[in-house]
């Protein structure tokens, strides 16, 4: 056998180029959805006016107010949260080598919600605003508490999967059990809650993107971007782990370390999003699957593609939630559950088998 270094695999180069093209075009689509999302609502604003306002060319005081104070932060929140939940799901699927992993199906979202609610009761970190919205007073304490319970759940999942190689079904059942446990614990807290605190409980069970302030948004963006870069940097490792731990180790991957650090990162991202917005289900499960259908299991592309798909899906769902029952506004979690649950059942029935 002779290794000849003259020939370039042209077909493969074309193939990777097509994947890159797919990512670029979906990003352009995201920008389009973003502008649509900002333009529609109780007051419709033309695309041109949206774009001009975003480029700091003020069109009218009223538009400035609507766009800069309401619609832009909400759209950015949807984009960030969608990307965050989607990449968390993707990475959980990769490191558990299990196609049904995601923050929601593993009960990690519920744990975060419980942690945030607990901090409101214990440390009085929430207060009610005149509009009836809950305002988080201490971000670090609230997310910290959410993160703590997330980690706890994540480690339980990791330990179970280490002791016994879990089938997908068993993992989902374990997730459902953990999820119900935390939901029950949240309900238990309600007995000790004041009216304000009670409102806060409901806050976390139905995720909504309208809640985030600019400060919360900034924290979310920072955490999500860091995780995105970290996951992208490790994409070769995740690819190797798709063919089993033994294989990955033989290719030089420190599987235990990668698994724990990646799980921590995915959990941190989830807990920040859930602490600020509440539980938004199914994004982390559905988006990576949609993308995998198109570009396969290659994490060098999947990380960014999933982030974009998550952003597009949550932003579209959010826009729908704001406009479908005008003048009433639904929490976006209602829409994602209506969309996500059928896909989840579909995956359970056929699509996910490796």
């Amino acid at each position: 056998m002779h290794i000849n270094l003259n020939e370039m695999p042209v077909d493969y180069k074309k193939y990777t180029f097509r994947k890159a093209l797919f990512i670029i075009s979906s990003f352009i689509f995201l920008v389009f959805v973003f502008i649509v999302s900002i333009s529609v609502g109780a007051v419709n604003i033309s695309f041109a006016d949206v774009i001009r306002t975003l480029l700091f060319q003020s069109q009218s005081k009223r538009f400035d107010l609507i766009i800069w104070n309401i619609r832009l932060p909400q759209a950015l929140t949807a984009v960030t949260a969608g990307a965050a939940l989607s990449i968390s799901g993707l990475i959980m699927q990769a490191i558990l080598n299990n196609p049904l992993g995601s923050p929601f199906t593993l009960g990690i979202s519920h744990a975060a919600s419980f942690g945030a609610a607990l901090s409101v009761i214990l440390f009085k970190t929430g207060s009610i605003q005149s509009k009836g919205n809950i305002q988080i007073l201490n971000h670090y304490l609230t997310t910290g508490s959410a993160f703590f319970f997330c980690i706890l759940t994540a480690f339980i999942i990791l330990i179970i999967s280490k002791i016994k190689k879990m089938s997908s079904e068993v993992m989902v059942l374990a997730g459902v059990a953990l999820g119900s446990l935390f939901t029950a614990a949240t309900m238990f807290l309600q007995y000790f809650a004041t009216d304000v605190q009670l409102a806060a409980m409901v806050f976390w069970t139905f995720g909504d993107t309208a809640r985030a302030s600019w400060k919360e948004l900034l924290i979310m963006i920072l955490v999500t971007l860091t995780a995105l870069i970290f996951f992208f940097y490790n994409s070769w490792n995740y690819n190797a782990m798709q063919s089993g731990d033994d294989n990955a180790k033989s290719l030089g991957v420190n599987t235990e370390l990668i698994r724990i650090i990646s799980m921590l990162a995915a959990t941190l991202v989830t807990s920040v999003v859930v602490a600020f917005l509440g539980i938004i289900g199914f994004i982390g499960l559905v988006c990576p699957h949609m993308v995998k259908r198109i570009i396969g299991d290659d994490h060098r592309y999947l990380v960014f593609a999933s982030a974009i798909a998550g952003a597009v899906l949550l932003l579209s769902a959010d826009t729908l939630a704001r406009t479908v029952l005008l003048p009433h506004v639904l929490p976006v979690a209602v829409i994602t559950s209506f969309l996500g649950a059928p896909v989840f059942i579909y995956l359970l029935i056929k699509g996910y088998r490796k």
Partner: protein, 250 residues
């Protein structure tokens, strides 16, 4: 010596699977590991590139103690072909490209792509290049695993039952390939096999494992019906045909 294993013992939790194993393999050599199911063949192979972390004994690759090497450094020296590869939705090209991972910092360069392409052509895999691994047959999958180990550019290749589940033609093809690469690339190759006749035909040395111990280390022409009967507990006859010994159960 390319590989030397000294006094290796290994246990999973409590049950001791390998007991005081010692042997050596030189470059261009093919060593077969034989033994009944559960004898510890896979376990031994996984200890050699530290997929399993052994506590007792020393393993040296090209005179370096692998316990002192990082997992990535080991991967540069030792390729591994698993007993059963898990399928996934990576293309054949990408699955083989993974073998370059120990050498790649972050992005695969043109050189890596060229190496992969060349090895693929040598194994007649280029037509499958953009197919997903999960759509391959057992034989094709095995070739992909071997190609991956080859692009790793190692000094040693470990193969766990590389001919299992293959039809006669594929067995033949893979075994000839293994013989060729051992010589051409000056590799030390360790394979575990079930078929004794295959081992007699293709290897330079045969190690019989029984209950986690080395029962005997022989060259193919030293085989006797007593050894086979002791290891496998079946009665056999040995025939000589065209310079090779052949084992036939009675």
């Amino acid at each position: 010596m390319m590989l030397s294993v000294k006094n290796l013992s290994f246990k999973y939790k409590r049950n001791k699977v390998l007991n005081n194993i010692s042997f050596e393999v030189d470059k261009k050599e093919i060593v077969s590991i034989l033994g009944p199911n559960g004898a510890g063949k896979s376990t031994l192979i996984k200890c050699i590139n530290r997929i399993l972390n052994y506590k007792e004994g020393t393993i040296q690759v090209d005179n370096e103690n692998i316990r002192l090497l990082s997992q990535n450094k080991i991967a540069k020296n030792i390729g591994y072909v698993p007993q059963r590869a898990e399928s996934c939705k990576l293309t054949v090209f990408d699955a083989i490209l993974l073998g370059r991972k120990p050498h790649i910092k972050f992005k695969a360069g043109d050189k890596d792509l060229k190496i992969v392409y060349s090895v693929m052509k040598n194994l007649n895999l280029e037509k499958l290049s953009l197919r997903y691994v999960e759509e391959l047959s057992g034989g094709e999958m095995q070739k992909v695993s071997i190609a991956r180990a080859l692009v790793q550019d190692p000094k040693i290749i470990l193969m766990d039952e590389p001919t299992n589940n293959l039809d006669l033609k594929n067995q033949q093809e893979i075994l000839n390939l293994i013989s060729d690469i051992a010589i051409d690339h000056e590799l030390a190759i360790i394979i575990s096999v079930h078929d004794i006749n295959t081992a007699l035909r293709y290897s330079n040395k045969i190690i019989f494992l029984k209950n986690g111990r080395i029962y005997k280390q022989i060259t193919p022409d030293e085989v006797s019906s007593k050894i086979i009967e002791d290891v496998y507990e079946v009665k056999v006859n040995i025939h000589e045909f065209k310079d090779y010994h052949h084992i036939i159960p009675v």
